[in-house]
């Protein structure tokens, strides 16, 4: 068909170094938000499950609030509000990293909460019976098990996070998608760039979700 | 009525049924027993084509189950089946459970189906439960509804797969009573069951299966009498001992 011949994918090769920079930022954002999100999320989960009522309430509120607004709104919020508080302008990239960490913490905390609740109560008693403090019981007994049980779900959430990083487009941070858009403009070939970048996302996400499925099948046998 | 001829079936590499043959004539009641995993459920599900088989054929009322041209839904509509775990449709009332097949499969009018449903509920002693949902009935009641559901299709024969083994002991008899009633009316029945009392009372023949094969196929008195295979003897002594 004639309209396929209009496409010119030769523009991809020269723009690869530029796209690679974008992908590096996407990966950096994903990894930092994952690590920070799981760390803060675990603290939030512990807070929600704690017997200190005000702490549990604040954590619950934070999680529910984050989970009920669109991520895009949160990105815009942080980009607007952080400079007002700090008094100095902030780059889109830094703002994106802070936003994603804070936002993902809410989602990861729900996963960790389920993970902690999946560890039998007897494990806590066993830890305490050995004379461990709360933090010792948590970090040596409960959290490692919770983390292992939830690993596939944490990874699945990370794949979603990886896809969602494309939304930093809204504040102009240079991730993979933004890089593709800029390259597309420069070469006057936006169509080819969009198709290529979609393919890159697809291959990465498909491969990662395949790995998660594999991991899930393996851990299912172990238990 | 039912002719099972040299049936063999595999699940992948695993052979579940090995060259099984038997015949059930009109009005006959045949009880199938045997240890767990011997292939009883698989065999009875082959009879109405719920499980496909790779070798041999089964003829029900002159219709071949193995023939790919056979209209299986049409055939199944006239072969009643009762399952171990009842398998009533949980989102429908008892009456709806009894009418849905009549209306959607047999094309009866709603009124006619309703009449028939009430009649059958009366027969299994459950007309006060007509508007309840399956989850609100006891196991024994549910299984009686399941029998009524099968009967509502006016079947030419009935298949039972361990109809009482998921029931508490005190509910077993209410279900068996209904089945004895059916047998006495001359219904053709193939019953997978370990209820030897029931077998003694109404069965014409008893089939004993082991390891996917039919090991014994004998008239009831003969089966409970002396001459029979060692494995069947062992099995009987185990279930009769308590």
């Amino acid at each position: 068909m004639s309209f396929f011949t209009q496409f010119d994918f030769s523009v991809i090769a020269p723009s690869l170094p530029f796209l690679w920079e974008g992908l590096k930022f996407t990966a950096k954002l994903t990894l930092i938000a994952m690590a920070g999100g799981i760390f803060l999320g675990t603290l939030l989960a512990l807070a929600r499950l704690s017997s200190i009522t005000p702490l549990a309430m604040v954590a619950t509120w934070y999680v529910n609030l984050m989970r009920s607004i669109p991520l895009l709104m949160v990105i815009l919020w942080f980009f607007l509000v952080i400079p007002i508080f700090t008094g100095k302008p902030m780059g889109a990239e830094t703002s994106a990293i802070i936003t994603f960490t804070a936002f993902e913490a809410a989602y990861f905390s729900e996963i960790m909460r389920a993970g902690i609740q999946s560890v039998p109560r007897g494990q806590v008693y066993a830890g305490q019976a050995l004379g461990m403090t709360y933090w010792q019981t948590m970090s040596y007994v409960v959290l490692p098990q919770a983390f292992r049980n939830m690993l596939p779900i944490l990874l699945t959430q990370t794949i979603i996070l990886f896809q969602d990083t494309s939304l930093v487009y809204a504040i102009g941070a240079k991730d993979l998608l933004k890089a593709a858009e800029i390259a597309g403009k420069n070469y006057g070939r936006p169509i080819e760039m969009y198709v290529f970048v979609a393919l890159v996302y697809f291959v990465i996400c498909f491969a990662l979700s395949y790995l998660v499925k594999h991991l899930q099948a393996r851990t299912a046998i172990v238990r | 009525m039912i002719k099972i001829a040299n049936i063999s079936k595999w699940y992948g590499q695993f052979r579940v049924l090995t060259d099984c043959s038997t015949q059930i004539t009109k009005g006959e009641v045949v009880v199938v027993c045997g240890p767990s995993g011997s292939g009883k459920s698989t065999l009875i599900k082959c009879v109405n084509g719920l499980e496909p088989f790779q070798q041999g054929d089964i003829i029900v009322n002159d219709i071949s189950i193995g023939d790919p041209k056979t209209n299986l839904p049409q055939l199944r509509a006239h072969v009643g089946m009762v399952f171990q775990h009842f398998e009533l449709f949980p989102h429908m009332t008892i009456t709806q459970n009894l009418t849905i097949g009549q209306v959607k499969v047999l094309g009866r009018s709603k009124d006619e189906a309703h009449q028939r449903a009430l009649q059958l509920l009366d027969r299994v002693g459950l007309n006060s439960q007509a508007d309840k949902f399956p989850g609100q009935l006891s196991g024994g009641q549910q299984q009686r509804v399941a029998i009524a559901r099968a009967l509502a299709m006016d079947p030419i024969c009935m298949l039972f797969d361990e109809p009482t083994s998921a029931l508490d002991p005190e509910m077993i008899n209410e279900v068996l009573d209904v089945m004895v009633g059916l047998a006495n009316e001359g219904m053709t029945m193939m019953v997978v069951s370990h209820e030897m009392g029931f077998a003694r009372k109404v069965a014409n023949r008893v089939i004993f299966m082991d390891n996917g094969s039919i090991v014994e196929d004998a008239a009831t008195e003969e089966f409970f009498g002396t001459p029979r295979s060692e494995r069947a003897q062992l099995f009987l002594s185990k279930i009769l001992s308590h």
Binding site: L71, L76, S166, I191, S209 | P90
Partner: protein
């Protein structure tokens, strides 16, 4: 922090016309609801079909369904939206392509609806499949045993229960579709997020703007949640898990 609060801003007129900022937000809300509902319809219908196909004993159909799910699940929503908006029109036959690019009415709206609908259909399909597979094998057999054909067994036995079971995850997907509709701003649909950005730039009262918009999203998502809860109560099966005795 020296921020100049001005809560009266919503009733003030926008810079370039006689509308108020409140008018902007209300019309944005309308578009958000319209995009979300229309996309939800597509997602439900298509997702149910695809999810069902993934469970039928037919290799070919199941593979097509799996491909659909993998395709729409593994590309970011925003990238999909840009593909639909910029790339798909190029792939159409010449005349159609020209019409889409130049004359199609409400092009942005329909593009967003189709994109969001297909994206969500993959997720709905996964839920439907999980729901069907959570039913015992005996239910399917019981349906077939009374003479139902396979489609009838799905229609009267499997799907009615599967849908009841998956109402909670479907509720989350419904709320997700409302939140996800915000990406439609990227192709110029005048929905809430678009209006929020526009109002923020126009009025320079960012915090009030975003607070109001966040509240509006909250209200919409909450209503959706209550609506689904109502459906869940209405369809509850007596005597079944969670049902009234």
């Amino acid at each position: 922090m020296n921020y100049h609060w001005n809560w009266g801003i919503f009733l003030q007129q926008v810079q370039s016309g006689d509308e108020t900022y409140l008018d902007w937000l209300i019309s944005g809300l309308g578009w958000t609801v319209a995009v979300a509902l229309a996309a939800w319809l597509i997602a439900l219908v298509l997702g149910s079909l695809i999810g069902t196909l993934r469970t039928v004993p037919n290799r070919g159909l199941a593979m097509v369904a799996t491909a659909h799910v993998e395709l729409f699940r593994n590309i970011p929503l925003l990238v999909q939206l840009l593909l639909w908006f910029f790339v798909v029109p190029e792939l159409l036959p010449r005349d159609l392509s020209l019409w889409v690019k130049q004359d199609m009415p409400a092009k942005e709206f329909f593009t967003a609806v189709i994109c969001l609908g297909l994206f969500t259909s993959a997720r709905v399909a996964e839920q439907v499949r999980a729901g069907i597979q959570s039913l015992s094998r005996g239910q399917k057999m019981a349906g077939l045993a009374i003479g139902f054909t396979l489609p009838q067994t799905y229609r009267y036995v499997l799907l009615p229960m599967a849908f009841r079971i998956i109402i909670p995850p479907l509720t989350s997907e419904f709320m997700n579709i409302i939140k996800n509709s915000s990406v439609a701003f990227a192709i110029g649909v005048l929905e809430l997020t678009f209006q929020a950005r526009q109002m923020q730039e126009d009025s320079e009262q960012g915090i009030e703007t975003y607070l109001a918009v966040t509240l509006l999203y909250f209200i919409v998502a909450f209503s959706a949640n209550r609506g689904m809860a109502l459906i869940e109560r209405r369809t509850r099966v007596p005597g079944y898990i969670g049902g009234a005795k």
